[in-house]
Amino acid sequence: MFVRVETGFKSEFIDPEALRMQRKIAEIHPQLAEKIRWVRKLKCYWLNFNAPRDKVIQTIQQVFKIPVTQWLFTGDLLPSAAGSSGTLQDLMQEAPYRPGVFHGIEKRKRINVHDEEANVLTDIFKTLLGTENSIGGIITGELLLIEGAKLTQSDLEWIARHWFAHEQSESWSLMAEDELKKNARFQSDQVAKYLGTAPVEARSRLLQFRQMGQPSVKELSWNRIEELFRSTLPIYEKHSSLKEEEWALQPEIRFASDSLLSNTRLETEFHLSLQQLESFAEGFPVILQTVLGVLPDPKRIWFGESYGHHPIRVRDEFETALKAVSETTATPIVQMKLFEDTHENEPSYFWSSSLGVNANKSEVLESSSENIELIWVGDQELPAFQDLVYVQNLKSALQYAMDAKSISFVLSCAGKTLLEVLKRATPLSYGFNLNISGNESWFQKSLETPMSLSQIWGIRPDQKNWLCNELTLRGISFFHLGSNNLSGDVKIIQNSETKLQLTITEFFKTALVSPNEVLLDQPIYSFNERVERRIQPIKFKNRYSVEELLLKPESYHASIASPVVLRPDFNHWAGIMILSDLCGEEFSTEHMEYLLRKCTALGGQIQSMQISMLNGLKSWYKIINEVKTEFGIQLTQLELLTKPQNGAHWLALQLVSRMNDIRNIRTEDFKQPNDRIYWLPGGFDHPATRWLAGMEGRYQNSLHSAIAIEPSNYNLDEQGQEGVIKTLTFALLKRKLGAELRLQHYFPGGFFVSIGENERYSVEEEWSSMGIECEWVGKVTATPYLVIRDEDDKVHTISIEDLV
């Protein structure tokens, strides 16, 4: 239950704090002070209760109602606690100039900024309500009620910025008189939006984006399943008889900037730094800025970035920072990336970033025995797992079951396919049965597609019933998947009929792969607990640590970087994609939609968004409010006004999304032999560009790679072929592949894409239905040679390595 509470002095008493602020403003800005005729300050609280309504009402009265001096505004919850009308109009009537022109400035602590007041309140609510989980979250803030007919919006902004709100830890917004007089702000969806939990209605739009492009489930193909079950799976990960801490992206992630020199931590939110924004506005001065984040949680996730124009300085500074973080937090550093962002007529801009997680806290569970029931716990629909409450419920249920010693083992499924989970499950290594009746679609899908946050629990048969009841009561979906045994066989049963039977030798035919052979690169730092508790640099051989998505947006000027994907845990393939964009006055809901679609088309599940402003335009406030309500995204807003208003207006956006498996994402690299290569025309607002960016169509996820070709101004003599060959060569290099190509004419700007043989028909059909004229160019081959057939049908064979 979401409740908003406002408290303020009764109208018969003066408000000393408000008057004091008025006096201070008069000293600094006398002209403005003359415009303020009356002012009042109210305390505001946004509360999320997990308790019955009558209990909540009683508790709110106990805590907030001080009848002698204060009025209590709660919307319709306690109308009698205020004056005659129960709204702020009771206070407004005491203003000396009536009817008067009223304005409101509301400030609130940013989510996850340390809020002592909220902590104290949480403590007291727990005492009064009697349960630990009775309070879901509290944000505190204040509302300034001002009367003044001549006050303009810029005056109010000045007051908010200079006197009322501390922008690094508090966000503020202006409220019109109509809003103040009505009680709409007390409605639960309005309150929920500040508490970081988007209301259900607002999520629907987001769900659309998340579900977009999900492959449809086909009929079960037993030949394919058998092939998969008999296949040798490259396994280099440790077996999962251990209870693994699943890595989950925290939507309410708190980042902290760490001042390395003084070694003191100042908590703040993750944002594009002030200096970074200034660099865009003022023509790129040399700036080096490090932002490091540490989650004050046992499962720490931290994120660091460093920017500047001097690569060695960026690198050195960043490495020092990483070491400092690793030493102080005992966090291994998993990924690091240094890349360059080049702009026309502007100096290069280097950017490095990193993401780390704690070492897995592993706990050896009791050794498994036979006839352990396998229960798959989770939800078949992905979006449910974006719901933090759901995940917390799941975790508490697991803890409950663990405490009761009902669970023998837990297999984590996040970011892994079912096949991978089964093939490396030690508790199943003497044989098991899978009963897939009723869950065929899930089985087919999860066998090859990585699963979302879900788990397979091994439960003792005698404990099964009560645990299933417990899960049902907690609203967690689950189904019975099968059981393990000592038969030495692996069976798949559908409708009481054994559809597939293998021996365990055939099934557990795994090959250990050395990390060097893994397609994705090693982290450049490793954590060796035996040697010492610090990070060790690893020499990496001309390879990037993460895969980089590179799909040039059509509005090139608006891009500050390509999407970056970071894999935080080396044992899993899940990662975070950060899609950045910088835009000027053209920002609109359409722009936002475009960004979201692009994110989804690249395979990301949208988590949260950060908006930073420089010299904010008034029109943006409206649009941002629309975005907040319509898209239901966890939106953190940071407004900055660093220079006088003659500076450029910028709005920096960072969309954070989760990738279940970064191996499946579309990158520049060609993925596998026999993929078909096509050329698609590009250009602003061309159907092909719109399709690639996810604006239209639904088969973008079938693409194995997409490479943007910039139209070349300099190589017209070579018909642009040199640039094309160069780009394609680099795309082949990483996996040591080759290609057979027909380059028979000049290729202007556009895209080369590759598609697997199986997916070609559906994609080609979609292209033709959308009027996209694709051109088949060739195919990827296993040998590292580029075989080019030119206009005169002459064949040129070049070694890729020679070309490099």
Partner: protein, 249 residues
Amino acid sequence: MSLYRALILSSPGSRGEKSFAHALKQVGFDAEILNIEEAIRLKLEQDQLSLKYKLVVLPGGNTYSSVVGSGRVLALKLQHALGWNLNRFAERGGLVLGVGSGFETLLQMKVFGEDYSLKLNDEAKTQEKWIKVIPTGNRCVWLRGLGTLELPLNEQNTEFVIDPFAYVEAKGKLDRLGLGCLRGETTNRNDDRVWGMCDMTGRIFGLLPHPEYFLSWTNTEDWFLNPTRAAAPGAGMAIFENAARHAEV
């Protein structure tokens, strides 16, 4: 003199516990400082309180950062986590002293009735000064036999407020029944000049100035002008001596 036990209940943000302990030890109490969270952990509920202690002190300061209202959270904790009813404690012979924020805690617990409260002063600033206060009436055992006292003040919420809707009745209680037992010379926009209150038994006493900060003559700013009095006790000690005198009753 028999050794009675006194409880000084500290809480996050409270100040002056050691001064209280020092003063109470001087007058013969066995003083113990206990944090509220520790008291909750020890389950120091109403019955235990009456059995163990003769005197309870709620020190001043900025308890719980004055969240919701000064003294409010502490009052809720005492009422709901410990189940304290200080009126009943006083009826059984206990003594209660609340100073500054502690006085506000007593007001929030409605020990003196529902119609009184304290409010932020007009300056919205902490007032640090010495004020002259005069005990009135004979109800309060803490002030019995005392004349004008000059005590230090260190408070933000100095404005004593009576509920406007019950003004006549509440004002009558203050004056006729002698609940407003400490009046000030200066008004400070405080129309009733009430700087301290007691309950009907006279054993629960709350006041805004801090007697614990004037235990010795050297606590005054200009004591060195009269160095011969350096060893003399301060006016605050008189209040604690009264407590010791009436503890047995």
